[in-house]
């Protein structure tokens, strides 16, 4: 039975609708939660409600949102900032874009409530430069909200002042890493900072800063409007609420689907995304963006899409971005495409990452071409080991996991390419 038959939606309007206009958003109850929160709920009680909801970050790491907020200093010093991470760049991921393009006020309302709860002066939405449509929608939404008195000075007559600015990135995956984002927002190369200090203590311009993903913040109005219990009623014990799963690759209906966390991966592939092309079977599934360990077909058919279940099969939920590869595709090619991504996107700061990502890409291309040997597979494993756990940020680990897990879980397919044999799927697989 489908667990999602009557699943509520918290983030996206119905399929054919776009709620970019302030009027339309308000007709659907928009900004009522912010008004209630700012007029009549104590800031600490808002944070308590978010804590009770069990909301975990939707940007990939799954950290408890209210706990992140609680790390802000209690000394009352100002200014303090929110950095909202809209640098959605993890390959396979296109969910935050759905919110920004189709329901931008939802994000603004979430930021407004979070800003009030944590005594924040301003929020900066760092949106990846390529997202032109999202940028334009957000700019319009901010201008409209400002004109309506929902942003600016003395919001709802409460004495609370709050600004939201949208800030464009310029094409760099690493700016989705929280401290890389802050460097970039300050006008520098997006090279991650060493921690400590953590952003809650010293973030943007060395001031206390909370950083949350677009979807995370967009859940806040629903939690305040309907209560933590209603949020928790959806999803699983430790992965509450809905999320927007993006599914792409070899399925009939790729797209973005808002569903409860804990939805079976099989259901997402075969019901929501319409299943595979006729006559095909699943070979591999990436469950949470390319940085998350790839699953075998057997694992994919049994797992549910929540933090605990994916960890139990040696992967992670990541951004909930699902890429399906069917039996006609070459997984060495897939690994090589992914390895190239990290090679291009490494910021170059740490040697292990700068050098290792290049080596992984070169070795995978060699294996794919048929020129590789068993020693090259060992070299991939060695390089991956050397890259893991030794760098300032997680990009190096992600690159190592991606290649390492493809090799570990599909070694036979890699071996079939070796010693002049070349790609056994050359006639059917996608090209690189």
């Amino acid at each position: 039975m489908s667990v999602t038959a009557s699943a509520p939606r918290f983030l996206l309007p119905p399929d054919s609708e776009i709620w970019t206009s302030l009027e339309v958003y308000r007709e659907h109850g928009g900004y009522a939660a912010a008004e209630t929160a700012i007029r009549s709920i104590a800031p600490a009680a808002i944070a308590d409600e978010v804590k009770a909801s069990g909301l975990r970050g939707r940007g990939g790491a799954g950290f408890a949102t209210a706990m992140k907020w609680s790390f802000l200093p209690k000394d009352g010093s100002r200014p303090r900032y929110i950095a909202c991470n809209a640098d959605e760049s993890e390959p396979g991921t296109f969910k935050d874009r759905q919110i920004m393009e189709r329901n931008p006020h939802r994000l603004l309302e979430g930021l407004l409530i979070a800003g009030f709860a944590s005594a924040i002066d301003a929020a900066y939405i760092y949106v990846r430069g390529e997202y032109r449509t999202a940028y334009d929608a957000l700019r319009r939404a901010i201008a409209d909200a400002h004109a309506a008195g929902l942003l600016g000075k003395n919001i709802f007559g409460s004495g609370f002042d709050f600004e939201i600015h949208v800030h464009r990135g310029a094409g760099a995956y690493i700016c989705g890493e929280e401290t890389g984002l802050m460097e970039s927002l300050e006008g520098r190369k997006g090279q991650p900072r060493k921690r400590p200090p953590f952003p809650a203590i010293s973030g943007l311009w060395k001031r206390p800063t909370i950083i949350n993903n677009v979807e995370t913040m967009s859940h806040v109005p629903g939690i305040i409007a309907n209560g933590a219990a209603a949020f928790r009623a959806v999803g699983t014990e430790k992965s509450s609420g809905t999320t927007i799963f993006g599914i792409s690759g070899n399925v009939q209906r790729p797209g973005a689907y808002e569903l409860p966390l804990g939805t079976p991966l099989r259901e997402i592939i075969f019901e929501h995304a319409g299943g595979l092309l006729p006559g095909r079977t699943i070979k591999a599934v990436i469950p949470g963006g390319v940085s998350m360990p790839v699953l075998t077909a057997e694992q994919a058919m049994a797992v549910t899409m929540d933090h605990d279940a994916l960890q139990a099969v040696g992967s992670l939920l990541g951004t909930g971005a699902i890429i399906v590869l069917d039996d006609q595709q070459c997984l060495v090619r897939a690994a090589a495409v992914i390895a190239k991504f990290y090679r291009v996107e490494s910021c170059g700061q740490c040697t292990q990452c700068r050098e290792g990502t290049g080596w992984l890409h070169k070795l995978l291309l060699k294996v794919e071409s048929g020129a590789g040997s068993g020693a090259d597979l060992e070299a991939i494993e060695d390089v991956a080991r050397f890259m893991e756990g030794h760098t300032i940020c997680g990009l190096s680990d992600a690159a190592a996991w991606a290649s390492g897990w493809f090799l570990r879980r599909f070694r036979g397919e890699f071996e079939a390419h070796l010693e002049g044999r070349g790609c056994p799927h050359d006639a059917t697989s996608f090209e690189i």
Partner: protein
């Protein structure tokens, strides 16, 4: 005057949003690229550095770090084909080849008159509507088929001729 007064004023109008002028750097570079032919010329780097009160090298290293900024001329229509996994699985390689054939250039090159350039880019964040092409910084072209490329190129040529009043 590498930057017009109007462009300088647009950049200055961003200052109040931030505690430091330097934070406007990426925005300023976007404005300059959009208004001055899709790339950042050396004299613009000096002018931006002056406006933001930072060293020219601070601007130059940012231009070279971000994929969207160009320190060399690109085509008036800069065609960016996503070649990451989901787009590759839906024919991105064929799109790159198709553009090479139609335009006679390889990725990284520009047509002789400067009208078009082609670039392979990493994930654009539109995997559910792959394959995806982006022209300059415009909204994405989604679910692009090989058969669409000729009319895409022709449409961009028509638009350009209209813009220059030919």
């Amino acid at each position: 005057m590498p930057l017009s007064h109007e462009l300088e004023n647009r950049i200055r109008a961003e200052f109040p949003k931030y505690p430091e002028k330097r934070a406007v750097l990426l925005t300023a570079l976007h404005f300059v690229q959009e208004e001055q032919g899709g790339w950042v010329a050396p004299d613009c780097i000096l002018a931006i550095a002056g406006l933001l009160e930072i060293d020219p090298i601070d601007v130059k290293e940012v231009v070279s770090f971000y994929h969207m900024f160009h320190d060399h001329a690109v085509g008036q229509s800069h065609l960016q084909v996503c070649t990451n996994l989901s787009c590759s699985m839906r024919g991105a390689r064929g799109l790159v080849r198709g553009l090479e054939e139609i335009l006679g250039v390889r990725p990284g090159e520009m047509t002789p008159g400067g009208e078009f350039s082609v670039e392979e880019v990493q994930c654009l964040g539109s995997c559910g509507s792959a394959p995806v092409v982006q022209v300059n910084n415009e909204p994405f072209l989604e679910n692009v088929a090989l058969a669409d490329l000729k009319s895409l190129v022709a449409g961009l040529q028509t638009r350009r001729r209209a813009a220059v009043g030919e």
